[in-house]
Amino acid sequence: MWNYSDKVLDHFYHPRNQGAIEDKGESGIAVVRGEVGSLACGDALRLYLKIDRASDRILDAKFQTFGCTSAIAASSALTEMVKGRTVDEALAISNQDIADYLDGLPPQKMHCSVMGQEALEQAIAQYRGWPIAQPTADHSPLVCTCFGVSEERIRKVVRENRLTTVEEVTHYLKAGGGCGTCREAIADILARTIAPPRLTTLQKIQRIQAVLAELRPLLQQDGGDVELVDLEGDCVWVQLQGACGDCPSRLVTVKDLIQVRLQRVLGPAVVVEALA
């Protein structure tokens, strides 16, 4: 049994704004829709938006959903969230916002929130006349053939939701949840999308030396110099030489100059210490 929040169950038992919006051709009013999912995938959402062109404001939203409890609840929640917002405000809604509105979704059901966000994006693209954004038909390679998920869609949810594991990608997009043959490819995409540069100690030393070489002329102007002494994890030990060695501003030199420059290259965790 899934552990659904009371809010999910409330939106499932009492869905808000179910149905379609008919385009009556009113002047100044646009009726657009976004469709994602399919019968084959096991869930599908058709989202209707009624937008006032002058103010760019969403006057009404309705949905039709084929899917499980959380798919219906996420669709219902989405319509409540977008009504009254401007199109730009609606575009800022992320799938996490939809999940948060429902007091969270079980991890395995996050794809229901992604489906909502994608339908919203598609409907707005139609309104704006953008060349869509059919989530299954972007130009990047198809990774998961069971659920029709492209590389670009995987990269997008990984970035937006800071996903780190293949399992999470499956929870958010279903990708990898069918035959499973694409799981390795998903792991590669994850690695490329999220990995901070991982450097060997030698590479770190080379980068530190390069930074120090850039700074050296500045110090030499004041009759000083700097040498790299040691590297221990994130701690860089340096020896200030010449005039710098007993300069009253040596701490400023170490922390505000050398440390700041090294952090840009090696990441914010770097600490620089000067040997006395």
């Binding site: 169950l9 499932f12 038992y13 869905p15 179910q18 469709e35 999912g37 399919s38 019968l39 084959a40 995938c41 096991g42 869930d43 599908a44 959402l45 058709r46 039709q64 959903t65 084929f66 899917g67 499980c68 409890t69 798919a71 219906i72 395995q108 299954t136 038909a137 198809l142 053939t145 069971c146 659920f147 029709g148 499956t170 279903k174 949840g177 069918g178």
Partner: protein, 400 residues
């Protein structure tokens, strides 16, 4: 709200008589059946009685019954025993619709170098016996098939399959976890070498089951240790469980005739639903089926949503829908039957027992049409010809 329990293929209520028979072995009669004193000896006698009761239900002899912890252990033991008994044979024949404990074991064995043939089923869930015949080779160590499918209740023609398998000199294992207690079984004059049963599917508690091993069939135990179960299953006996299983077997035999009443209730349920709810199918219809099982497909809606709305009305059912499982794939059984997507995701299983009453069935009939209508009103799909549906299905096929 009283619960209407229609999930008896998942598990059943422990019969009051079963609990009563077990209680002494959970309280005063706690001796170890292997002990030399009379305090333990009386317990050994109780297990022997239970063994006779289980044998009687199956039309077997008591020495052919090995108590296990349940269906998973029974199936694992049977398959591994067959392979160990014929170390030179590296081929297994099974089907695409087996329970996970057979399917995943076979997949694991494939990784270890065994070759496995998974026989297909047709739209009614039936095997093609010619496909089976063609699959059997001199390298085949074992044929393992289920008697009754847990999801659809579809019965395989075990006597016909067995005759074919035995004519080729191959061991024949049957997973009868869903069949025992629901249909008559006479192992003495059957082609079955090994048969698995599980107590909690017929009103014994969870954690007890049995494996039938035909006299003369080579056997290798899964668990090694003490001499229990005549060296076939080491470990101190689950005494209370075994006694409960024996009592449940006696009751099952007494109540076999009751299955006609259960079937009448099931048929009434199915016919009434088909009349009341359009675009509905009975999965496995046209095949011989268990008397208690109904697998219904409601087009254009999703099974988990149906289950939650039923649960709200106090009705327990289950679904092979992708959304109810940790995996994202819908039921492998319904997929193997080649059901269309419109049915695949919207199927639920209602499974009855001898405790099911006409009032239970009326409760379902009172609420299910409304639930299906409510979900269909939400669904963007209403017929198989919808542009969206065909476009997307084709798109997926094209990219796949």
């Amino acid at each position: 709200m009283t619960v209407v329990y229609l999930d008896n293929n998942a598990t059943t209520a422990v019969a009051p008589e079963v609990l009563e028979a077990m209680l002494p072995y959970l309280t005063t009669a706690y001796g170890n059946p292997s002990s030399m004193h009379r305090f333990g000896g009386q317990v050994a006698q109780a297990i022997q009685t239970a063994r006779e009761q289980v044998a009687d239900l199956l039309g077997a002899t008591p020495t052919e019954i090995v108590f296990t912890s349940g269906g998973t252990e029974g199936n694992n033991t049977a398959i591994r025993s067959a392979l160990a008994s014929f170390p030179n044979r590296r081929h297994i024949v099974t089907t695409q619709v087996e329970h996970a404990c057979v399917r995943n074991l076979c997949r694991h064995l494939e990784k270890q170098g065994y070759q496995v043939t998974y026989l297909s089923v047709d739209r009614r869930g039936q095997l093609d016996l010619l496909e089976l015949e063609a699959a059997l080779t001199g390298d085949t160590a074992l044929v393992s098939v289920m008697w009754a499918n847990n999801e659809t209740g579809v019965l395989f023609p075990i006597d016909q399959i067995g005759a074919l398998v035995k004519s080729r000199g191959v061991l024949f294992h049957v997973d009868a976890v869903q069949a025992v207690g629901k249909i008559p079984i006479h192992l003495q004059d059957s082609p079955i070498d090994l048969l698995t049963l599980s107590g909690h599917k017929f009103h014994a508690p969870k954690g007890i089951g049995a494996l039938y091993v035909r006299r003369g069939v080579p056997f290798r135990p899964l668990l090694l240790g003490g001499h229990q179960e005549r060296n076939r299953r080491a470990g101190t006996e689950n005494v209370a469980g075994s006694v409960g299983l024996g009592r449940a077997a006696v009751l099952a035999k007494q109540h076999l005739a009751d299955m006609a009443r259960v079937q009448a209730l099931r048929d009434h349920l199915e016919q009434s639903i088909l009349r009341a709810i359009p675009e509905t199918v009975v999965n496995g219809q046209g095949s011989p089926r268990l008397p208690n099982t109904s697998n219904l497909g409601f087009k254009y809606i999703e099974g988990e949503a149906i289950l939650l709305l039923l649960d709200r009305e106090g009705i327990c059912a289950s679904s092979g829908s992708a959304c109810t499982s940790a995996s994202l794939e819908p039921s492998h059984v319904l997929q193997a039957m080649g059901l269309p997507y419109s049915v695949l995701h919207g199927s639920i299983r209602l499974s009855l027992s001898r405790y099911t009453t006409p009032a239970d069935i009326e409760r379902v009939l009172a609420v299910l049409p409304g639930i299906v209508a409510q979900l269909r009103a939400l669904s963007p799909f209403s017929d198989d010809e919808s542009d969206w549906l065909t476009e997307r299905t084709h798109a997926l096929l094209a990219t796949g």
